[in-house]
């Protein structure tokens, strides 16, 4: 609803003032085969055989239900030179589909269950501006900011670890009333695993800028800032054990025990050293392009060539981070959302350079 289109709107500078709200529901299917308690083929000595599958079937499994309510406001000033968008959302997933560990003495390891309710709440803000605009130079900028908080609001199965490698090294732990991305582990002086961190960032920001010089030359870059959010850094542990960490022989606190030895001594005692802040500021993209002037093309090729554009760009050129591994943006278990940020000697994101040359006929 754009209030600026109504007659009563008299503020000239404010050309858009839109309030919006949306509600949606969708279903999520359980993984195929969740219902069935079946056999897996297992052979020996050339004979075919069957053994019970690792997954125990759940006849009552049903779809999970996702409900999302979001509301926002869009404001544009000075003929869209400044556009501000804000959105808040509340997303709940009821009958949440979880892969639960069952007592292994039953012969099965896992079962797919409708285990509870997950709530995600968040805010997204974006400010697009054109701070400078003349025929020979134009600067467009878009800054966005977003945060998300999740909580397991209801859990009908016993709390269970998920992903990662057990509580000696830190593991994700699904527990009622807690964040869905909390990391727990053993800690000295504590009975049983305790919360050591959370993979969800405090907030994230993007800063995207676009410059046009003399209509033909464009330059753009995108900075991404992730503040907070922990990783389970096992790369450092493995390099410590292999004697190859960059600070292996350093002794930061000057107590005569090297950093690496201090960390290794915690192995089996505390998982705290492995749960590390993975904040970073990364130059995600940068590029510069030049389009040959149209009159020049017409002189050279007549009407056959409409456009020639050349340029260079790069991805992931530099990262500022205090995180001690190859790459803070890592996931040993893929991007399934519930156990990202486990760092086990990954291949870091590659740094890529491109040269562009395009002709339009």
């Amino acid at each position: 609803m754009n209030l600026a289109n109504f007659d009563f709107w008299s503020l000239e500078a404010l050309n858009l003032f839109k309030l919006r709200a949306a509600y949606g529901e969708s279903g999520g299917f359980p993984p195929f085969g969740s219902k069935y308690t079946s056999f897996s083929p297992f052979n020996i000595g050339g004979n075919p055989g069957l053994i019970v599958a690792l997954q125990r079937g759940n006849e009552n499994i049903k779809q999970e239900r996702q409900k999302e309510l979001e509301a926002g406001i869009d404001i544009a000033l000075f003929q869209n030179k400044v556009v501000f968008e804000a959105t808040a959302y509340n997303k709940t997933v009821s009958d949440l589909i979880l892969i639960q560990n069952v007592p292994a003495s039953s012969g099965f390891t896992t079962q797919v269950v409708n285990g509870g309710e997950l709530r995600n709440r968040g805010i997204e803000l974006a400010l697009s501006t054109t701070p400078f605009e003349t025929p020979s130079f134009k600067w467009d900028s878009r800054t966005s900011y977003w945060i998300n908080r999740s909580e397991i609001t209801e859990l009908n199965v016993p709390a269970f670890p998920l992903g990662a490698f057990g509580s000696t090294l830190g593991t994700f732990f699904i527990e009622e009333g807690k964040s869905a991305t909390q990391i727990v582990g053993i800690k000295e002086g504590e009975e049983g695993p305790v919360k050591l961190g959370d993979a969800t960032p405090d907030f994230q920001m993007n800063f995207h800028n676009f410059f046009t010089i003399k209509q033909n030359l464009t330059f753009s870059f995108l900075l991404h800032w992730k503040q907070g959010g922990d990783n389970i850094n096992l790369t450092q542990l493995l390099t410590d054990l292999g004697g190859t960490s960059f600070d292996y022989d350093d002794d930061e606190d000057g107590d005569g025990t090297t950093n690496a030895a201090e960390r290794i001594n915690q192995l089996g005692v505390s998982a705290e050293p492995f749960v590390q802040d993975a904040s970073y500021l990364r130059l995600r993209e940068i590029g510069m392009y030049y389009s040959l002037p149209v009159p020049l093309l017409q002189t050279a090729f007549g009407n056959t060539v409409r456009q020639i554009r050349i340029g260079v760009s790069g991805n992931n050129l530099f990262t500022f981070t205090g995180y001690d591994s190859y790459d803070p943006e890592v996931s040993n278990f893929g991007g399934n959302g519930l156990s990202t940020g486990v760092d086990v000697t990954p291949f870091p994101n590659s740094r890529r350079y491109f040269f562009h040359f395009s002709i339009g006929f």
Partner: protein, 443 residues
């Protein structure tokens, strides 16, 4: 004319409504698993083929997580070190480095436990199916039951070996209502022994041939009579664990013990490169790096010169080191990734015989049995004191070398209360008595 048109209009409508009422809403038909046979499919009137699939699956599943199991008992028993470029806990948790302890949610605890119970589940399904089918003869039924209960008992024994005084569950047939954990090791061993006896009784009534085929690993033991000898051999092992030495001697008589026979005669896990089969997880190539099993230095240092059992390790081109542990010898029991791994073999039976003789006071016979082992290993006959105490030392020593990396050293030292004699390689290391019960058991 008018009525005719009316009829045309509403009659199909009535028809549709009627059909609609009959069909009610459209529901999704429950279909069975289109990809795999379900467990229900064998529980009623299973055919011999159905049952045989379960037998083969059971035998095959016995090999799952075997590598982790042998690493657990071998590393804790100070038989070998397990170095891994990607897994530090073999040298921290298992050896109790610093203040590290065994964890109940880590793979070394949960994987072997789960793998054994998976086989137990398969045997329980086999037992339920065979008791609920008309399509097999009585002898065949006894054969299946004898096989299933023997393997089930053996799987439970392996889990009890790990958890010891933390116990195991026996009654696991009803997955919604699992039985209690039997935490007293003597009580648990008694139940395992009873299960083996039951199985042996079934085998006695099972005729002369099995209705199913087993792999090459059971060659010579794939008839009711032969399999019963295997069953009695396992029962003899359980009997000495229970310190029922006289019973062990009786059981040995019904086993395949052969004092003059080959040490390697016995029952094995077999491996192959065929599709759907498994490779020997205990094999690593000599001089490998990254993932290696290094013989504990004590194995070579404590050996008597000339002991041919030293060929179970091989000297590396370069020593391997990890986490302040170093060894110069690879574990070299297996030379290819398809070598069979013993479940129980004659050399162990001779040693059980010697042990039972020592404990029942027949020292002469015990010494002779130990000399069979010594001579078979290139050593001169035993020449020290013939006392019960000295012979127990000698028997444990021979077991150490004869059954190296077969999962016995730790158990032997535990049952003779000698875990404090196992070497501590780094200050602060611990020798564990038992593994915890996995967290998934929720107890």
């Amino acid at each position: 004319m008018k009525t005719y048109i009316k009829q045309l209009k509403y009659k199909p409508l009535i028809g549709l409504v009627a059909i609609g009422l009959m069909l009610s809403s459209c529901g999704i038909e429950d279909i069975p698993d289109p990809n795999n046979p379900t467990i229900e499919s064998v529980l009623e009137n299973a055919t011999v083929d159905d049952l045989n699939n379960l037998v083969v699956g059971t035998e095959s599943g016995m090999r799952n997580s075997l590598g982790t199991y042998y690493d657990n008992v071998g590393v804790v028993g100070r038989e070998h070190y397990r170095f891994s470029g990607a897994e530090p806990r073999f040298t921290s948790d298992l050896l109790g480095a610093g203040s590290a302890t065994l964890d109940n949610s880590t793979f070394y605890t949960s994987n072997p436990w789960g793998a054994r119970y998976r086989v137990v589940k398969n045997t329980n399904i086999l037992i339920a199916s065979v008791n609920n089918t008309e399509l097999v003869s009585e002898e065949q039924r006894q054969a299946y039951l004898g096989f299933a209960k023997t393997i089930k008992a053996y799987q439970l024994l392996l889990n009890l070996t790990m958890t010891n005084e933390n116990g195991i569950r026996f009654d696991v047939d009803d997955i919604n209502n699992l039985g209690p954990v039997v935490a007293d090791p003597q009580e648990a061993l008694t139940q395992i022994a009873a299960m083996l006896d039951e199985a042996a009784a079934h085998l006695q009534d099972a005729g002369s041939t099995f209705p199913f085929s087993l792999s090459q690993g059971f060659e010579g033991y794939n008839t009711p009579e032969g399999f019963r000898m295997f069953n009695r051999a396992l029962a003899a092992r359980v009997a000495v664990y229970r310190e029922n030495y006289a019973e062990a001697l009786t059981l040995l008589e019904e086993s395949f013990l052969d004092l003059d026979g080959s040490f390697t005669e016995g029952v094995y896990y077999v491996f192959s490169t065929s599709p759907g089969d498994q490779l020997n997880p205990l094999y690593y190539a000599a001089n490998a790096t990254g993932e290696v099993r290094i013989a504990h230095p004590g194995f070579v240092a404590d050996a008597t010169p000339g002991d041919t059992r030293l060929t179970k390790v091989s000297k590396r081109d370069a020593p391997a080191t990890q986490s302040n542990l170093t060894g110069e010898y690879d574990v070299a029991l297996y030379t290819t990734n398809t070598d069979p791994v013993p479940i129980i073999r004659n050399e162990e039976l001779i040693l059980i015989y010697a042990e039972a003789k020592i404990q029942t006071g027949d020292l002469q016979e015990a010494e002779e049995a130990l000399n069979i082992i010594r001579e078979g290993s290139g050593l001169p006959p035993y020449a020290s004191a013939v006392t019960q105490e000295a012979l127990i030392d000698e028997m444990l020593r021979q077991r150490r070398y004869s059954l190296y990396f077969e999962g016995h050293r730790w158990v032997d030292m535990r049952r003779y209360n000698r875990l404090d004699q196992l070497p501590i390689d780094r200050t602060g290391d611990d020798v564990w008595v038992s593994f915890p019960i996995p967290i998934s058991e929720e107890i």
